[in-house]
């Protein structure tokens, strides 16, 4: 999929306004309490699933969020949508602060930001027909529309995602995984959102079906000027679909930049290790690929390492890495952001 020719341009997407970003996330923290046992469970610790991350997202842009499982990618997506209430930090959507708002106050914003889930089986109510599934957001937000208008919209949405509207009265279990994911996308698009959080939208699908869904997402982005926060662990798909990419490790962004900056000139050792693990489509290059094999496991987020969180597995680690946390700032010649005391482009052309 990396070799597909319709990959997005590296520069800011056309039509993006130069002013305020659509979404501004700053110092976002989400921690979950660790409870002990007993009749009335007491909190004995905190897991910082998301430990202070910041990024912007412009209209019509795709930001890929990558990292291994458990690093807080999905939690970030849910915290932005206020499905998990952030512990601290700020999430601004079109300049409006979302953190700390009540469910009632959030209702109007919810139209503009929707989510597509990883598991196409768990994300659709098994007792609802496809029609009811796609109708639900419209019934909640456009109750004044009347039945005919809502139904017409549902049929349009199903057509938009490549499903036959005549199948609307079937149940989710009568569809394949890819079709179900399209139903989930139709539901997310019903309210004509500006931002879609895509939480590993294709990782549960067969590879052959993944391409279809990814192409659909790209097509929809161009037609509807959607902004995507694309959470994934599949590096080749992220590379294909993203304008910019953020790499997460243990709740923090370690490197963020445009697609070519991250894939071509990564300066953080974790990004380099992650990229070196991805197989290359060209067999000759694949044979010469040099993997960086990390030792050890990801440390527990209950008790993360001091200083740089990656230092326990990093081959470059020095004393300073344990004492001082590297800031996410412009490092290296092209100036994309990286959180490493010893940034260095690895000599490898991909």
């Amino acid at each position: 999929m990396t070799t597909a020719k319709t990959s997005p341009s590296d520069a800011a997407p056309a039509g993006a306004d130069t002013g305020q970003p659509l979404l501004q996330v700053s110092d976002l923290v989400k921690s979950f309490p660790v409870r002990g046992k007993g009749i009335i469970p007491r909190t004995v610790g905190q897991v910082q699933a998301v430990a202070g991350i910041s990024f912007d997202l412009r209209a019509g842009e795709t930001l890929g969020l990558v990292g291994e499982s458990g690093c807080g990618k999905s939690t970030t997506g849910r915290a932005i949508l206020q499905l998990h209430r952030p512990t601290s930090g700020s999430v601004r959507f079109e300049g409006r602060e979302l953190v700390g708002r009540t469910a009632r106050q959030l209702r109007s914003v919810r139209r503009d930001m929707q989510i597509v889930f990883q598991d196409p089986y768990a994300s659709l109510n098994p007792r609802w027909t496809v029609n009811s599934v796609v109708r639900e957001p419209l019934e909640i937000h456009h109750s004044s529309w009347g039945d005919k208008r809502i139904q017409a919209k549902v049929n349009n949405l199903l057509e938009l995602v490549g499903l036959n509207p005549e199948h609307r009265n079937r149940f989710p279990h009568e569809f394949s995984g890819g079709q179900r994911q399209r139903i989930g996308i139709a539901r997310a698009l019903a309210l004509e959102p500006k931002l879609l959080v895509l939480d590993e939208p294709v990782s549960a699908l067969d590879v052959s079906v993944q391409a279809g869904v990814v192409n659909l997402l790209e097509e929809l982005q161009q037609r509807l000027n959607l902004a995507y926060l694309f959470v994934a662990h599949d590096l080749s798909i992220v590379r294909h679909i993203s304008h910019r990419i953020a790499v997460m490790y243990l709740g923090k962004i370690v490197e963020i930049g445009t697609r070519d900056e991250v894939y071509g000139r990564a300066t953080h050792p974790y990004t380099q290790a992650l990229l070196s693990a991805a197989p290359l489509p060209d067999p000759k290059a694949e044979r010469e690929r040099q993997r960086i094999v990390l030792t050890g496991d990801v440390p527990s987020p209950v008790n993360p390492p001091s200083g740089c969180r990656f230092r326990t597995r990093c081959w470059k680690a020095q004393d300073i890495c344990a004492t001082e946390e590297p800031k996410l700032e412009a490092r290296g010649e092209d100036g994309h952001l990286s959180a490493c005391h010893f940034p260095e482009v690895r000599s490898r052309e991909s």
């Binding site: 919810r110 989510i115 990883q118 007792r127 139904q151 005549e166």
Partner: protein
């Protein structure tokens, strides 16, 4: 859930082949599918017929019987005959009239108990499971507390304080039969509330009420019905047990349990006095359980292999 789709089609199953008829695209209202599946469930249909017969008999027969349950004019322990089809008991009461009256009360009590257990249990369970946090902790500790209260002692106390009547028995049993329902529903709600389709509903701004009514409860229907039918069955048995030890329905009224209590000594000599009420209890419990099975299967969209 009842979708009013602009395209309306007749209710009769359309068997004429059309272009693309392989997948039926008619507006399929869910209740209609459920009903059709239920009607195809053989054991449930047999059970339903038997139960309907029992209920009808309990309601209609008193008008046609020559004696009612207050009649004591018969001889002591008369054998079954044309006058008394099931004989009489030690007080000369007509056994058939007693059986009909007893079935009435046992059914009444069972329905009240099942309704109470279901409403209390499902409400508390769903609220605890969805809200979580301290509400959950509070409710579940309440369940724990309720479970260790000696039910029999409290019922005995209530009986001596207020006298015993069928509705007191029903309320007492109902107040002590919701705990397992609450626990099961809380657990299921907890797992449902973390499913992505509920999260999707939250992301689109659905209220808690909407989530419970539209997403959680429909997915609990199977468990709720099975538990309700189990509650009916156990309530019939529990009432029988209470009456058997003299805490339930009292003379001159009667219940199936009380009839057994009065006549179990005659098991050897006059077995019909014991087996008739016993058979009715077993029939009620069995049929209600089978009907519950049928309802659960009918509500499960994945159960059927036949396209409804």
């Amino acid at each position: 859930m009842a979708d009013t789709v602009t395209k309306t089609t007749p209710d009769e199953p359309d068997t004429t082949p059309r272009a693309g008829h392989e997948f039926d695209t008619e507006a399929r209202k869910q209740w209609k599918i459920v009903l059709r599946r239920f009607l195809r469930h053989r054991m449930a249909m047999i059970s339903l017929s038997v139960l309907v017969l029992i209920v009808l008999a309990a309601i209609v027969m008193p008008w046609f019987l020559p004696y009612d349950h207050t009649y004591t004019g018969g001889g002591r322990y008369e054998d079954p005959g044309p006058d008394h089809p099931l004989g009489t008991d030690n007080l000369g009461r007509d056994m058939l009239a007693m059986l009909v009256r007893g079935t009435q009360f046992s059914l009444l009590i069972a329905v009240v108990v099942a309704a109470m257990a279901t409403v209390i249990g499902v409400t508390l369970g769903a609220v605890a499971g969805l809200l979580g946090g301290w509400v959950d902790t509070l409710f579940m500790r309440l369940v724990d507390l309720w479970l260790i209260i000696p039910q029999l002692a409290l019922v005995a106390l209530a009986a001596s304080a207020f006298g015993s009547s069928w509705y007191l028995v029903a309320i007492a049993l109902g107040l002590f039969s919701w705990m397992s329902v609450a626990r099961i529903n809380r657990g299921l709600t907890l797992s449902l509330a973390n499913q992505e389709f509920v999260e999707a509903a939250r992301a689109m701004g659905a209220s808690n009420t909407r989530i419970v009514v539209k997403h959680i409860l429909p997915n609990l229907t199977g468990v709720i019905t099975v538990n309700a039918t189990l509650a009916v069955a156990t309530a019939v048995l529990a009432e029988a047990a209470l009456s058997f030890i003299g805490l339930g329905v009292n003379i001159p009224d009667t219940s199936l349990g009380l009839i057994i209590n009065n006549n179990y000594a005659q098991l050897e000599l006059r077995p019909w006095l014991f087996w008739a009420p016993f058979l009715v209890i077993v029939l009620i419990s069995l049929t209600v359980n089978f009907i519950g099975d049928g309802i659960r299967d009918a509500f499960d969209p994945k159960q059927t292999k036949v396209r409804a």
